[in-house]
């Protein structure tokens, strides 16, 4: 970096200086660079936030106001072969609430070198897809008299998945423990005698329903896979997420692979990653709606949700419950609960946030209400 600009490190954020450095005209004289540096500093100082600026409410407005313009529309089709993802207002609400279960969990799996050029992509994709027993069968036949279930298998599927008959039998045994009396396998069918007192059709039926959903192969939670070419690279888009298991695979590029489930990212990668994911996800939605909201507002929202080190939603159980002021909490939701608990602890409200002072008709300690005036008291004439 140019030495003149380098001197400004600490006064101006480095990314701005770097941009300036890359844009410097070639062979500019030292005095010109100095002038540029001075002007840069002047402009930056002008653009800095003033102390007392109520950035919180500005951010809330900036996200809340365009919220009224967003569509509720859940579905969209960006490309013909893309997946349906929850977008718009429901998605924003979902993220800011910190819902444990999101509507459409999704992953984008990036691959390591030989595979990202498309090698074995279909096979890899198929190998992580969650397969349940039902999918490798053609037909279930129930023999009422002998309380037996006869399962006809889909051989092609089995071959595709690289499974054998014996594999399947062990899987079923494991999956439906205690319900099987004996199990027999023939080339393309499995016959199971169900354990039941007397000829109880109910038990047999129960077994059939259970065995259908027995997990056979792949990674749990991944409902759908879709190999896609993104730019030069091949990636796998999945419906359903399981980051932990995916990261265990050695052909996955762990640095790029992401999930849209923020809570899951928090659980596997920690709070910093979750914060970034939060920002990215919210920004993605707002951008897709063609709305213009500055990233700083989203950052601040994400930071308020993450400062405690745990993800907290913007709900009465999350961020709001953490407030220091009793009255501020009470003015949001469930006021009685907050007041009762405050009485038990003997809480003292120091009145240093906005809403309590509004309640008491006092100046709010934000913006112009923040500074105090220090003067010498006049000697009283007695």
């Amino acid at each position: 970096m140019n030495p003149t600009l380098k001197k400004l490190i600490g006064k101006i954020p480095e990314n701005i200086l770097e941009e300036a450095n890359s844009l410097l005209p070639k062979g500019a004289s030292a005095s010109k660079i100095q002038k540029i540096a001075d002007k840069l500093l002047e402009e930056y100082d002008y653009a800095k936030v003033a102390a007392g600026e109520s950035v919180g409410i500005v951010s809330a407005e900036s996200i809340g106001e365009p919220g009224t313009q967003m569509t509720l529309n859940t579905f969209h089709f960006a490309g013909v072969a893309e997946m349906n993802v929850t977008m718009g207002l429901p998605r924003i609400i979902e993220i800011l609430d910190c819902r444990k279960k999101i509507k459409t969990p999704m992953m984008e799996i990036y691959l390591k070198s030989p595979y990202n050029k498309g090698k074995d992509i279909r096979k890899l994709a198929l190998s992580i897809k969650e397969t349940v027993f039902e999918e490798v069968t053609k037909e279930f036949l129930i023999n009422i008299v002998e309380s037996k279930v006869e399962i006809k298998l889909n051989k092609e599927r089995l071959k595709e998945l690289g499974l054998t008959l014996n594999n399947l039998i062990t899987i079923i045994k494991k999956g439906a423990k205690g319900q099987i009396q004996n199990i027999k396998g023939d080339s393309d069918k499995i016959t199971v005698k169900v354990k039941s007192k007397e000829e109880n059709l109910n038990e047999v039926y129960k077994f059939k329903e259970k065995v259908r959903k027995v997990f056979v192969k792949g990674i749990k939670g991944i409902k759908q896979v879709l190999p896609v070419k993104r730019g030069e690279e091949f990636i796998i888009i999945t419906a359903g997420t399981n980051l932990k298991k995916i990261f265990e695979l050695n052909w996955v590029d762990k640095e790029k692979t992401i999930s849209n489930d923020v809570i899951e990212i928090y659980d596997t990668l920690g709070i910093e990653a979750a914060r970034q994911a939060l920002i990215n996800e919210v920004y993605k939605v707002i951008e897709a709606q063609g709305l213009n909201v500055d990233i700083r507002h989203i950052m601040l929202t994400a930071d308020t949700m993450c400062t405690s080190g745990v993800m907290k939603g913007i709900t009465r159980y999350g961020v709001v419950s953490e407030k220091s002021s009793v009255l501020a909490r009470a003015s949001f939701e469930t006021p009685i609960k907050h007041i009762i608990n405050a009485a038990l602890i003997g809480e003292k409200d120091e009145l240093n946030s906005v809403i309590e002072n509004v309640m008491l008709n006092q100046a709010v300690p934000i913006g112009t209400g923040l500074p105090g005036l220090v003067t010498k008291e006049k000697e009283s004439k007695k």
Partner: protein
């Protein structure tokens, strides 16, 4: 049984600041000289505590013993619920306690002695935890001493992370895990399981534990043990949760209303209290008379019910107490709770005087930061102005006119604070006594400061400061360019006007809220105010390729108030670009792009537009980059003037030119229509081919899709393509004189697609991202065969709006129309709630003097705001334009 003690609602204690006591002497002095008004008292902190029975008695002024309210003369009974020691609600009476009149007396508490203790409903869960976790004999907590410390530490931590309720649950869990032996670790007494029979009864071994017993057990718990539960024994002792004394709220809190018939209608709380006193009396009598235990217990339960519903009339297992009409009573917790409750309605929401509201209408000849106020309103609202020796004459003029003539005055405030209404009779007297020190409340005049607002006030630009312009008429007038920040239109919208009454308020409004300071949106760092609609079309036409006589140009410019024509070249004919340039500062440089796809440079050098056309990218709202540059170089005030001029110029040009859109805009020549028909025909055939392929199972399936989904996607893509093609065809045939095209091209309103929908083909109607599927079994309408997959049967509208839609097409259009209507109706409350949550969570986050971002508790949220400390409203779309800085040097 201890006779005092009893908790009640929590009580807020006001800690007056230390300084206030020191100030008190000065305070008195200043009241004598009322010309100086300032803040003398400030609440520093509020402490929350439970009320002990002792405290209740101490703060009470009367013991209430009788349920009677008034005697025969209608005078409040002593010792009754409306006792005038508790405050006054009748005009003319004076409070026996403080001697103040109605509205001055704040009201005073009373108390009543309960015959038997009653458990407070709000503390049931806590009482349960306490008695089931402590020994029934010695009252010690059921945790062995050696474990005590670790439990205390852990619970401390849990409270910090998850709150006090989680802490209690934790203690309960620990105790139950330890309780396997069923013996107290301290005194070896046997313990039994205690359960709650909802709502208020405790059972031990299926035997009832009376409130007296409960209270005794709670008394036994030591202060040290209490604090393990996270309860501060100084603030609230557990035995206070069982009431022995009930505080009677002051009458001012439950005033009765006199009906037209002269009858009195008492407040819900008074009714409830009357019930309580009546039952309590009967209970007393029965106990004294030595009635059988069953009767006493029945009455006790009844008292418990009444006191419970007095606090909370929404307890799950209890039938709510009702009026005779069957409507549930509104008792204490209902008064506090919810949107209409005390907190959100009265404390967090304020009401105001000196405000006005009417319908709004546009007036482009107003300045951007002006608001047109009808004379009727200007004569009702007022601004206080202090009389000094220097303005005495000036202010006397207002007084002379009185309230009926404009500009006059409505009130005069004397130095002792007395307000006098001015009428024609009192005018003379007031004139006589007027002297410095008086305050005159004069009518609004041009140039006064007002705050203008439109609901919903979603962002700070929904409340801005305007200068008043008094106008004839009955509507509030505003410049149409400021509609956008308010999100206002003129289809009947109403807006509010507030007149700040103090010098401080006016200063803040002017410096922080005036339109010039709100020009740049803090949401994205671009100008939120810009030209709209006609003014964009006008400027577009002007700067495109217009050339007019100089005389004509001068006429246009002067008609919008531009008289300095030095910069208009003195040629026979001048171009539109030259006319536009007259409005710009002579040292302004700008480089940007217009909406046109090719050849879209807009270059302004030395204040003259050299190349390019002006459109919404340059001067539009939310986008106008030129406006952002002007703001940066010349500051907000000048930008506003320039914007005003540009806005008026656009309108004037259009007015001069004549501009209208109509049916003929969507006319197409014969061969154009033919081509469109062919295109649509072709698309339909292609779809049929696809359907055939689908039926023959020959379709290439998209990965991760079923056959049917693939077909749908392919059809959708094909039909969309076809519609877009028709749009191209329409565009080819439409000329540059076509008003619809002009509006679309300039970015004023509409898009080429809108024109195509009118002229050629409306296109596919989609619901939930798919073609229309709902309706009858395997078909959308009975017009079609079952299983028909053709475009027409699935909501493709092939006609244009001009030609008219076929009945089924119209129906499909109505379907999607209804769908989007529902969407908006459902979205509004959802987004409103999200906004409320966001605002509540983040309202006290601010930048501190050390540049960190913190919340009200001092917790750091960010070390530097937005990672670089840049204020969005001072940035250019969130960035510092480094390139421009370097280029400028």
């Amino acid at each position: 049984m201890a006779k005092e003690e009893t908790p009640e609602k929590t009580k807020a204690e006001e800690n007056k600041s230390e300084e206030s006591s020191e100030l008190s002497e000065e305070e008195k002095k200043e009241i004598i000289e009322p010309s100086e008004v300032g803040i003398f008292k400030q609440v520093k902190a509020i402490e929350f505590r439970m009320m002990s029975p002792k405290l209740i008695k101490k703060m009470s002024v009367a013991k209430i013993v009788t349920p009677e309210l008034y005697d025969k003369e209608g005078y409040p009974v002593d010792g009754g619920l409306m006792d005038i020691r508790l405050g006054v609600i009748d005009p003319g009476l004076r409070c026996k306690t403080c001697g103040a009149k109605l509205k001055e007396c704040p009201g005073h508490f009373g108390y009543m002695e309960l015959a038997r203790p009653i458990i407070h409903i709000s503390f049931i869960a806590i009482v349960h935890t306490l008695i089931s976790c402590s020994c029934r004999d010695c009252g010690k907590i059921l945790i062995p001493d050696q474990k005590r410390e670790s439990v205390e530490k852990e619970s401390e931590k849990i409270q910090k992370e998850l709150g006090i309720i989680a802490r209690r649950l934790y203690i309960k869990k620990i105790v139950t895990s330890l309780k396997k032996v069923n013996k107290c670790p301290h005194c070896n007494a046997r313990q039994y399981k205690i359960t709650i029979e909802k709502p208020t009864t405790f059972l031990e071994n299926d035997k009832r534990v009376s409130p007296i017993e409960v209270r005794m057990r709670l008394e036994k718990i030591s202060d040290e043990d209490v604090s393990i539960f996270g309860i501060n024994p100084l603030a609230s002792r557990p035995e206070w949760m069982v009431l022995t004394v009930l505080a009677i709220p002051p009458v001012t809190m439950r005033p009765s209303i006199t009906l037209e018939s002269g009858e009195r209608s008492e407040d819900d709380l008074t009714h409830k209290l009357g019930d309580i006193i009546r039952i309590n009396q009967r209970l007393f009598e029965n106990i004294n008379a030595g009635a059988p235990e069953i009767i006493i217990e029945d009455l006790w339960d009844l008292l418990q019910y009444h006191i419970t519903t007095f606090f909370d009339n929404n307890v799950a297992q209890l039938p709510p107490a009702r009026h005779r009409s069957g409507q549930p009573l509104k008792t204490i917790s209902e008064r506090i709770k919810s949107k209409e409750g005390r907190i959100r309605h009265n404390l967090a929401g304020k009401r105001t005087n000196f405000s006005a509201r009417t319908v709004i209408s546009p007036d482009p000849m107003l300045a951007l930061d002006e608001v047109g106020v009808p004379k009727i309103i200007a004569m009702k609202l007022s601004v206080p102005e202090a009389v000094t020796p220097w303005n005495l004459k000036y202010l006397k003029a207002f007084l002379e006119k009185g309230p009926g003539k404009y500009p006059g005055c409505n009130y005069v405030v004397r130095p002792d604070g007395k307000k006098k209404k001015i009428t024609d009779e009192t005018k003379e007297a007031a004139l006589e006594e007027l002297q410095p020190g008086y305050i005159i409340e004069r009518h609004l005049m041009d140039g006064d400061i007002a705050i203008f607002n439109r609901q919903p006030s979603l962002h700070r630009m929904s409340m801005m400061c305007h200068r008043i312009k008094v106008l004839p008429g009955r509507t509030l007038r505003l410049n149409p360019a400021v509609c956008h920040p308010y999100n206002a239109d003129f289809d009947g919208d109403e807006m509010n006007l507030h007149i700040p009454q103090t010098e401080e308020a006016r200063a803040e409004a002017e410096i922080l809220m005036s339109i010039p300071t709100q020009l740049i949106s803090p949401r994205y760092g671009l100008s939120i105010i810009g030209c709209t609609q006609d003014s964009i079309s006008g400027n577009y036409l002007l700067t495109k390729d217009m050339e007019i006589e100089r005389n004509h140009a001068v006429q246009i410019l002067t008609s919008i108030g531009i008289t300095n024509l030095k910069r208009l070249p003195s040629k026979q004919k001048v171009t539109g670009k030259e006319i536009f340039s007259v409005l710009l500062p002579s040292d302004f440089h700008y480089k940007g792009n217009s909406r046109d796809k090719e050849d879209n440079d807009v270059i302004i050098k030395n204040g003259s537009l050299i190349k390019g056309v002006i459109d919404s990218n340059t001067i539009g709202q939310e986008a106008g980059l030129m406006l952002r540059d002007l703001h940066k170089q010349y500051g907000p005030k000048k930008t506003i003037t320039i914007l005003e001029n540009i806005f008026r110029l656009g309108n004037q040009v259009l007015l001069d030119l004549g501009f209208t859109t109509g049916l003929h805009d969507s006319d197409l020549p014969e061969d154009g229509r033919k081509r469109i028909d062919e295109t649509l025909e072709k698309a339909e055939q292609d779809v049929q081919i696809l359907i055939q392929q689908y039926k023959d199972n020959k379709l290439d399936i998209f990965p991760g899709r079923t056959l049917r989904e693939t077909l749908e996607l392919k059809i959708l893509e094909l039909l969309n393509k076809a519609r877009n093609e028709t749009a191209h065809i329409v565009a080819e045939y439409s000329t540059n004189e076509n008003a619809t095209v002009i509006m679309a091209a300039s970015g004023a309103k509409g898009s080429p697609l809108n024109l195509a929908q009118m002229a050629a083909c409306v296109g596919q109607q989609a619901m939930r991202g798919k073609r229309i599927e709902k309706g009858y079994i395997s078909r959308t309408l009975s017009h079609f065969k079952k299983g028909d997959l053709s475009p027409a049967s699935k909501g493709f509208i092939r006609h244009g709006f001009k030609k008219g839609l076929a009945p089924h097409e119209f129906f499909f259009g109505a379907m999607t129309g209804r769908d989007s209507l529902m969407d908006t109706a459902l979205r509004t409350p959802k987004s409103g709630y999200l906004y409320r949550r966001l605002a509540n969570a983040m309202q006290d986050i601010k930048v501190e003097y050390d540049n960190t971002v913190r919340d009200s508790g001092g917790k750091i949220i960010q070390f530097t705001y937005g990672e670089d400390g840049i204020d969005v409203s001072k940035s250019e779309n969130g960035k510092i334009n480094v390139k421009k800085i370097i280029d400028s040097i």
